[in-house]
Amino acid sequence: MSAAAVLPDVVPTRVRAHARRETVRLLARSPTFVIGTLIVLWWVFCAFFGASIAPHDPDAGTASTLVAPSGHFLLGTDTLGRDVLSRVLAGARSILTIAPAATALALIAGTSIGLVTGYMSGWVDDVVSRLTEALLAIPLIVLAVTIVVAVGHSTFSLILVVAVLFTPLVARTVRAAVLAERDLDYVPAARLRGERSWYVMFVEILPNVTGPIIVEGTVRLGYAVFTVAGLSFLGFGVQPPTADWAADISTNYGLITSGNYWWTVLFPAIAIASLVIAINMIADGITQVLER
């Protein structure tokens, strides 16, 4: 019997933590990631239960209009006498529905396009890449407004618009990751056992590019919140009287100059900012851990 036969069995098994467990452990130790997650979780909680924990009815007007923050109305009231705190809590729902849904759509479409263009190369890659670049060349807000006007106002059209805008960006990132993977020998090895292209792309390559996709997805989510808020501010998003941070800013920003009613604008703005920053903190944390 050759010595090779005894080789594997005399080795003490090397105990190595599973890579995924290690990643989770490192994330849990990253303050950026933990703080970001806590803030996001808070807003997700509000998206579900904001209206129930709100001290007042967010949509019902009262006689006490434009009351400054006080004991009864912690963050004050707006022109219609609605409680700003309640509207901030309830307003999480619309943005936390639209932004993640749009991001998810963009990730699915972008990943597929990125995999195909990166793997196929040649003319498929050239054509699709030029098309996406053409799309990226048009100013984002102009494109968004045009599509919303063409498709019509609805939550769904808003999701679609943001997804369409972000798909080429995701595709570009995925394509770059796939190009690096395609040079590794496991790809020709798969082809040399007669695998079809879709199998090589989705079963062999895709699991190896999840890192960049997760990072890109988190970054995109931050921008999606931004874009959705921007469109709502311009009046292309959620329609009044539904509580929505950006729509509320849009309704009230005139009051900053006409009177000193800063609370009507400041608190929804802080909500948007905190959500975007928190998501970016999560993205930073993930990037640091995945690229260690």
Binding site: S2, A3, A4, A5, V6, L7, P8, D9, V10, V11, P12, T13, R14, R16, A19, L184, D185, Y186, P188, A189, A190, R191, L192, R193, G194, E195, E204, P207, N208
Partner: protein, 696 residues
Amino acid sequence: MSAPAPDGARALEIEDLDVIYRVRGSDREVLRGVSFSIGAGEAYGLVGESGCGKSTTALAVVRYLPRNGRVRAGSIRLAGEEVLALSRDGLRRMRADRLGMVYQNPADALNPSLKIGLQVAEVFRVRGVARGEALDRARDALVRVQIADPGQVLGRYPHQLSGGMQQRVVIAMALAKDPALLILDEPTTGLDATVEAEVLDLIAALQADFNTAVLFISHNLGVIRKMCERVGVLYAGTMVEEGPVETILHDPRHPYTVGLIRCIPRGGARKDRGRLDSIPGFLPTPGERPPGCIFAARCAMAEEICTEVAPAMHRTSERHGSRCHFHERARELPRATAAELGETLAVDRSGDPLVRLDDVARVFNQSGQHIHALAGVSAAIWPGETLGLVGESGSGKTTLARTLLGIVAPTRGTIELEGRTLPPLAKRTQEDVRRLQIVFQNPDSALNRRHQVRRILLRALRKLGDLSGARAEERLHALVAEVRLADRYLTARPSQLSGGLKQRVAIARAFAGSPSLVVCDEPTSALDVSVQAAILNLLVELQVKERVAYLFISHDLGVVRYISDRIAVLYLGRVMELGPADVVFSGPHHPYTEALLSAVPTIDGGGRERIRLAGEIPSAAEPPRGCVFHTRCHRKLGAVCEEQEPPLVEAEGGHLMRCHIPIEELRRVQLQEPDAIAAGVAGTADEPARGDGAPA
């Protein structure tokens, strides 16, 4: 060698050095009690397998350990000065003035966005030399490393230079300051044999000129033998043996050294004459410290005392020491792998070949240039035989393999499998796909790191063996047993396996559908020698059992000779010589083969006079007219070589050659010139496998 200089004059003295790395909250000892010293002008080699602490030693000397590493105990004195006690500024001065370092990959050592001139001049600028003068001295430094046109090289960026040229520049920078100690960490590992030989010659010449002390780190005993007077053998962070190189190679006194030397295929070792020996087991994990001898777990001679008492460094002679209780009989170490072969496979070439390549050419278009990667290669492989493929990088070895497999379509010519012409991969039947498989060079890249071993192999069984369910499961266990993998590795992912185990998985995958031919693309070049020996034994065993043919690509001529029945030598996409392995190695050979063979440093034999090839391999975009080798040929006849390309003709039974010189003339000049009488890798076929260094 000169007698040890007085204490203060030693270039480097390391005493009882302990280095630890802190990994996940616990300290792991990577070097323990390492002591050695290097005299002024002496070249000292450190040898050992990966993970034994060679590079850590070098990093500790320059105090450049990674963040989690520190020196726990010991002392490092550079020209009498304690390195570990230096202040921040003192350390900077020491690195700037007295130490030169050359690492494995020259491309990493050079800044890609700065011109060479600026980078070399910086070595002088940092020591306070004015700008203009620094540039002049940079030019002189390049002249010293024999760069033909230093003015031009100074104005170039690193990527515009070849690997050998880049390494010369790095050596020029390291030597520019006339250092007290030059540290070379695997300086030629990434280079071709002919370039390696040139760089080693250069280092040796410079070392003699400048009388610089050298710490030479390498996994290659042949290179160490060529470059160093004394050598230390490291095993798992412990210096197990130390002494003059020739003594260590021919009278090793530690079982690890004995095993290491036996693993190397050399002399006339061939697969049909005996198996290679191997070292059983694995390197202990860093930090694992048995109370006794560190090597006891893998040592076939270990007795009770070995697991209880750590042996001291026994002096076997004034300059030779071994850390073994039984050093006087270490050479009697029983073989780990029986030398006897069960059965051998006789190749029958009277029938039709399995695969026939007919005038296969491939041209790549690269930014408007036509790269002739293959220029009409014809060869045949019979069932059950190994065709070895050798040549420098850029000779077309990999393109040939990929064309055969169908990954690359030929521009001209045909590939036949049992008489049928094969189309490119996408159009092949699943049956043809099954019959031609590959084992890649780097198992890290060849195995999907997200898939478990089990999934990788089951998928191969399904696609190549058309097996699923219980039958696939059954075959899976047989398959892993065949490549000597334990079942428990089935649930592991590739990153959890060592290099050798990964390569076994890759081999199992290739054999899943009982292929007829497996391309082995440098399958052992990423592995340590002891692992290499086990993998080569496995490949030979599988070949006998499955009657599989191999197309075996390697730059290691000893390995190629061991495993091949016939060998093809490629140069610029052309077969220059093709013949039975023994004939190609023992000669008469093509002048190019002759040069390749002479370039390899060996661990036995006096070695032949090295043939210096002029210049570098010409670009495949503009191959020279006439014989493509005439620009570098040391046996060029004259105008005929420049004008007419010689045909590949059968010079004698089964031995093909592409040369204008008649074979009888080659035989006369190569085998009868006194300095060309070969030994080492090119030794005669009947030279014993454990040659004692006497030229044949």
